[in-house]
C-alpha cells in the first residue's frame, strides 16, 4: 500500500533541506575563497593573466550549470579518486561559484574610484596593503547586493545535484513524490521550503541595493 504524505515524509524532506543548506554553505565558502583569487587575478594588471581569467569566467557564464556539474562529476570519477557524491558536487558548485563571484567582485573592485588606489600608492602602500586596507573594504560594500543575489542563485542551483543522484531537498522531493503519488503536494512543500530559504535573502539584497543607490545619489 502506498504511504500518505505524513510526518515521516516531511521529516525526510527536512533532512534533504539540511543537505541543501550544507551544500550551499560549503560551496559558498569554497567559492568565496577561490572567487577572491579570480577577482584579484582578473584585475592584476597583467594582460595575459587577465585574459585567462576572463576566458575562465566566460566559460562558466556561457554554459549550463547542469553540464558543468556533469563534467566535474564524471571527470573526477576518471581520476580514479573514490570521492563521496557530496564532495564531488560540492567541488562542482565551488568552481562555478568561483567564476560568478569572481566576476561580481571584479566589477566591484573596478567600481572603487581610481583616486583611492592612486592615493594609496602615493602613500607608499604595497599591493597587499592597498587591496586589504583600501580597495577591498569598499569593494565588498559595493558588491554585497550582487553577492547575496548569487547566494540565492546558488541555493536554487544546488537542486541540480538531484540530477546526478545526490539526495538533497529536490531529490528527496522526487523520492517522496514517487512513494506517495502526491506530486503536487510534495513539490508544493519542497517549493515552499526553498522559498523560505531564499526569499528573506532576496529581500535583504534588494533593500541593500536600494540603500546603496540612495547613498550614491547624495
Amino acid at each position: 500500500m502506498t504511504p500518505h504524505f505524513g510526518l515521516a515524509e516531511f521529516g525526510f524532506l527536512l533532512r534533504g533541506l539540511q543537505w541543501t543548506v550544507l551544500l550551499t554553505l560549503v560551496a559558498f565558502a569554497g567559492g568565496f575563497t577561490a572567487g577572491l583569487a579570480v577577482a584579484l587575478l582578473r584585475t592584476c594588471g597583467h594582460k595575459g593573466v587577465e585574459w585567462i581569467t576572463r576566458i575562465y569566467i566566460g566559460i562558466f557564464q556561457g554554459t549550463p550549470l547542469l553540464l558543468q556539474l556533469f563534467v566535474v562529476y564524471y571527470g573526477l570519477a576518471l581520476t580514479g579518486l573514490k570521492l563521496d557524491a557530496f564532495v564531488a558536487v560540492a567541488i562542482g558548485f565551488t568552481v562555478n561559484a568561483s567564476a560568478f563571484l569572481g566576476e561580481i567582485w571584479r566589477g566591484a573592485i573596478q567600481a572603487v574610484p581610481r583616486g583611492q588606489t592612486e592615493a594609496a600608492m602615493a602613500l607608499g602602500l604595497h599591493y597587499s596593503s592597498r587591496m586589504r586596507d583600501i580597495v577591498l573594504p569598499q569593494a565588498i560594500r559595493i558588491s554585497l547586493p550582487a553577492t547575496i543575489g548569487y547566494l540565492v542563485q546558488l541555493i536554487k542551483g544546488t537542486s541540480l545535484a538531484a540530477i546526478v543522484g545526490f539526495i538533497e531537498l529536490a531529490r528527496a522531493g522526487q523520492i517522496v513524490s514517487n512513494q506517495t503519488f502526491q506530486p503536487l503536494l510534495v513539490f508544493g512543500v519542497v517549493g515552499a521550503m526553498y522559498f523560505i530559504l531564499c526569499w528573506p535573502l532576496s529581500w535583504w539584497g534588494s533593500r541593500m541595493e536600494a540603500r546603496l543607490a540612495l547613498a550614491s545619489q547624495r
Binding site: G62, L66, Y74, S159, L160, G191
Partner: protein, 222 residues
C-alpha cells in the same frame, strides 16, 4: 586501470547532437516568446488600479524567483494535466521556461517603463506627434533600448536553463547527450563536448542579439 579518453563516440554522434542543438534553440526561442508575452501582460497588470491583480503579479514574481527551476518544472509537469492540459514533455518545458523567464521579464520591463519621464511624453505631444508616434518613438523604443542588455542577458540564462528540461525528457541537447551517454558509457567525453556546444549556442545568441541591437537600437549619428 588506465582509462583512455575516446572522443570518437562524440564524433559519430555529432549529427544527433547538432539536432539536439536545434531542439535547444527551438525550445529557448519558444520560451523567450512566451516570457515576453507574460512580461508585457505582467507589467500591465502590475501597474493596474486593482489591488488584487497587483498582489497576484507580485506574488507570482517572488515565488518564481525564489524557487529552483527544477522544482517548478516538476510541479508544472504534474499540475498541467490536472487543469486539462495534457501536453508532451517538450510543450511542458516551453511553458515552464516561459513562466520562469516571464517573472524575470516583468521585473526588467517594469524598470524600462519607469525609466521614461512623463515630461518626455508631454514634450512629444507638444511637438505635435500623434498618440501612436509618441508611444512608438518616445515610450517603446527608448524603453526597449534601456532594458535590452538585461533582457537579452536573461534570455541567454533561459537558454542555458533549458538544459534542466532534460529532467522531464523534453527534446533538447542535454537529453540527446544523456541518451548517447547511456548507449556508449563515455560520460565525460560526451558531457565535456556538449558543454562546448552550449558555449557555441551562447555565443551565437550573443552575436544575434548584438546584430539586432546595432540594427534597431543604435543612436542615429546623422
Amino acid at each position: 586501470m588506465g582509462y583512455t579518453l575516446d572522443f570518437s563516440v562524440v564524433w559519430h554522434a555529432m549529427p544527433a547532437l547538432l539536432w539536439g542543438c536545434v531542439g535547444t534553440l527551438g525550445l529557448a526561442l519558444a520560451g523567450m516568446t512566451l516570457a515576453m508575452v507574460i512580461g508585457v501582460g505582467g507589467v500591465a497588470a502590475r501597474d493596474s488600479t486593482a489591488a488584487w491583480l497587483r498582489a497576484i503579479v507580485i506574488g507570482f514574481v517572488e515565488i518564481v524567483r525564489n524557487t529552483p527551476f527544477l522544482v517548478q518544472i516538476f510541479f508544472l509537469f504534474f499540475a498541467l494535466p490536472l487543469v486539462g492540459l495534457k501536453l508532451n514533455p517538450t510543450a511542458t518545458a516551453i511553458i515552464a521556461l516561459g513562466v520562469n523567464g516571464g517573472a524575470y521579464a516583468i521585473e526588467i520591463m517594469r524598470g524600462g517603463v519607469q525609466s521614461i519621464h512623463k515630461g518626455q511624453i508631454e514634450a512629444g505631444y507638444a511637438l505635435g506627434l500623434h498618440k501612436g508616434q509618441v508611444f512608438r518613438f518616445i515610450v517603446l523604443k527608448p524603453a526597449l533600448r534601456a532594458i535590452y542588455p538585461s533582457l537579452t542577458g536573461q534570455f541567454i540564462m533561459l537558454t542555458l536553463t533549458s538544459s534542466i528540461c532534460s529532467a522531464v525528457s523534453a527534446y533538447e541537447l542535454t537529453s540527446v547527450a544523456q541518451r548517447i551517454e547511456s548507449d556508449t558509457f563515455r560520460s565525460f567525453e560526451v558531457y565535456f563536448s556538449v558543454t562546448f556546444l552550449y558555449l557555441a549556442i551562447s555565443w551565437l545568441l550573443m552575436l544575434g542579439f548584438a546584430v539586432i541591437s546595432h540594427r534597431f537600437f543604435s543612436y542615429p549619428t546623422r
